[in-house]
């Protein structure tokens, strides 16, 4: 999986700028992030990482029957 091109995040930039501007004017106050922005950004990141997530899952959950039958004493 190639590294994400940040140029492809232009859609998010346009939506994020008003949120950060609002948070700067009200420090310590929680500013809601538009659902469209968080959903799309999450989707980009999740899709980019999907192969790694599946590979880790496969690796960690695959203990062979042969291994399970090894004896310790």
């Amino acid at each position: 999986m190639p590294t994400i091109d940040t140029g492809a995040l232009e859609f998010a930039v346009d939506l994020a700028r008003p949120v950060v501007a609002q948070s700067l004017s009200a420090p310590g106050q929680a500013i809601p992030i538009p659902a469209k922005l968080s959903e799309q950004l999450n989707a980009v990141l999740s899709n980019a990482m999907l192969d790694d997530v599946l590979a880790l899952r496969e690796k960690e959950r695959s203990v062979s029957l042969e291994t399970l039958r090894l004896t310790v004493r």
Binding site: T6, A12, V19, A30, I31, P32, S46, E60, T71, V72
Partner: protein, 534 residues
């Protein structure tokens, strides 16, 4: 009625055989047994450990009905023709000197009680207990001794010990030697791991006999008693499952099974997050002499990283390394050699136990931990990218960014929510608004807590080092594939020093509401979370 207490001045005892002779009466036959060979190695190591932690006096308690040995006795020893006693001795270790008994006079109950009632600073002077079973080949029964270096051992608990109406306390990891009849190393290891967690998780105190029955309930390859043939890993998992825990089994093979050789660094990296969380890790070792199980209960840090496992998470471009790089050896309880020993890198062709012999790690997780430590680490990287993007948006002169500019170290641990809130309350460096939020945030019972440290500042040997420049809080009960795992993510400005913006930001999961962004007024580096359990 004879007094069931005696004192032994440990300093006056030259060797282990003399001590065993002083504890057990001649009729027991234990004195005649030569103190040599593998079975009595734990006894020797226990005595050496007592000396190392500063024990001066042993208060010997006779006729002890030890619940673990009573269960072993009922399961096996009571069925033998020759009478095997069912009572044990218990050695209580004190750093204080024993009372002097005049020559020709006998020790009185009053002298014992005066000693117990007047021990100064009992929390420091009481050094735990050792149960001596009436078994010549396996004398060490359920015992709790403090570790030699408290900071190295993370899997320990504070246990009350009652002697003659007085309550003393010992902080340590329970230890037991296999008796090679009711249980082998597998049961001893599981017993150690479960007994350590008993108070925290609230599980039942399973005896080795009960663990053997649970392990062989559905699958037995040989006779159950005497259980000299050990257990297969599948049976160990069944025994752990029956205790209400959810055993996670991890492989120590780095690449494809049977591919690249097992490395010490990889074993440490797999085990470290759980050990750091105070969760004992049962390691199955396979030296040429045959399989064996030990329990990893701590770790020893080096001044500098032992290995460099810096990696690049390609899709996000994040370069990071893990805190395990600083770990040199693991601290283990080995039921056939002794408590609080070290397990480091070595020659896998030798029979001397080393990390390269590890084939599997078994972690008896509490229920509802659905995400593994590595999955949590992976999810935290996504949260870091998400947060970096927002942080970079404060500087309109620069392009968006998904990765920190600083070299980062990740430290991952499972934390109980009460411990997290206590940490937030007590952490002096946390931003005040963040402190309030962390203390009032709705959280699951257990969370994965992933700390981001500045690699240049990180020094795990010094708990007062302020190198934490962010932290990700994840729902341990979530499924990483589903996606909704991040509860909060904070980054300090140290992660993007060339970008202008606030001192730090926090991204909060809004649950059914929208996610939220906070600009923070403080971003000074903080300390690591030290106590994951309350």
């Amino acid at each position: 009625m004879s007094l069931r207490y005696r004192f032994i001045d440990l300093a006056s005892i030259a060797d282990e055989s003399e001590l065993l002779g002083a504890i057990a009466p001649p009729a027991s036959g234990m004195q005649a047994f030569a103190l040599m060979g593998q079975p009595l190695s734990p006894f020797k190591h226990v005595v050496q450990h007592l000396r190392k932690i500063g024990a001066q006096t042993l208060l010997i308690q006779d006729s002890v009905r030890d619940p673990d040995f009573l269960a072993e006795h009922e399961a096996f020893y009571s069925k033998q023709h020759r009478v095997i006693p069912r009572l044990c001795w218990r050695l209580h270790a004190f750093a204080a000197a024993a009372p002097i008994v005049e020559k020709g006079k006998e020790l009185t109950a009053r002298a014992v009680l005066d000693f117990l009632d007047t021990v100064a600073d009992p929390d420091r002077q009481y050094l735990g207990f050792v149960t001596i079973r009436p078994l010549r080949h396996a004398p060490i029964g359920a015992s709790i001794l403090p570790p030699p270096h408290l900071g190295d051992v993370t899997c320990l608990e504070r246990f009350p010990v009652h002697i003659a109406g007085r309550a003393f306390y010992v902080s340590g990891t329970p230890y037991l030697q296999q008796d090679n009849a009711v249980g082998a190393c597998a049961q001893a290891s599981i017993w150690i791991a479960l007994r350590t967690q008993m108070k925290r998780v609230g599980n039942t105190a399973y005896t080795p006999a009960e663990l053997t029955r649970a392990a062989t309930r559905y699958m037995a390859f040989d006779r159950v008693y005497p259980g000299r043939q050990g257990l297969v890993i599948e049976q160990m998992l069944e025994a752990i499952r029956s205790s209400g825990h959810d055993p996670l089994t991890l492989t120590c093979e780095h690449g494809v099974p049977g591919g690249a050789p097992i490395t010490a660094a990889y074993v440490i990296e797999q085990a470290m997050p759980y050990i750091e969380s105070g969760l004992p890790v049962v390691a199955t070792l396979f030296p040429p002499s045959g399989g064996h199980a030990v329990v990893c209960i701590g770790r020893q840090y080096a001044a500098r990283p032992i290995v460099d496992t810096t990696r690049d998470l390609k899709p996000l471009g994040i370069r990071y390394r893990v805190a395990a790089d600083w770990i040199e050896t693991l601290v283990i309880h080995n039921d056939n050699t002794g408590p609080y020993l070290t397990l480091g890198s070595g020659d896998p062709k030798s029979n001397v136990y080393c990390l390269e012999h590890a084939r599997n790690l078994i972690i008896p997780l509490p229920e509802t931990v659905h995400m593994t430590a590595k999955e949590a680490e992976q999810a935290s990287l996504k949260a870091i990218a998400f947060s970096c993007f927002f942080f970079s948006q404060y500087d309109s002169t620069k392009p968006p960014r998904l990765k920190p500019e600083t070299d980062i170290v990740l430290r991952t641990l499972l934390v109980r929510r009460h411990a997290f809130r206590r940490w937030a309350l007590e952490d002096a460096e946390l931003d005040p608004a963040l402190k309030d939020l962390y203390r009032t945030l709705e959280l699951p019972r257990l969370i994965w807590f992933v700390e981001l440290h500045d690699a240049q500042l990180y020094d795990p040997r010094n708990p007062n080092t302020c190198s934490r420049i962010g932290e990700i809080v994840l729902d341990a009960s979530a499924d990483s594939l589903h996606g909704d795992v991040t509860l909060s993510a904070r980054l300090s400005r140290h992660t993007l020093p060339s970008y202008s913006g606030p001192q730090g930001i926090l991204l909060l999961d809004g649950g059914i509401e929208a996610e939220q962004l906070l600009a923070l007024s403080s971003g000074v580096p903080g300390k690591s979370l030290a106590i994951p359990w309350e």
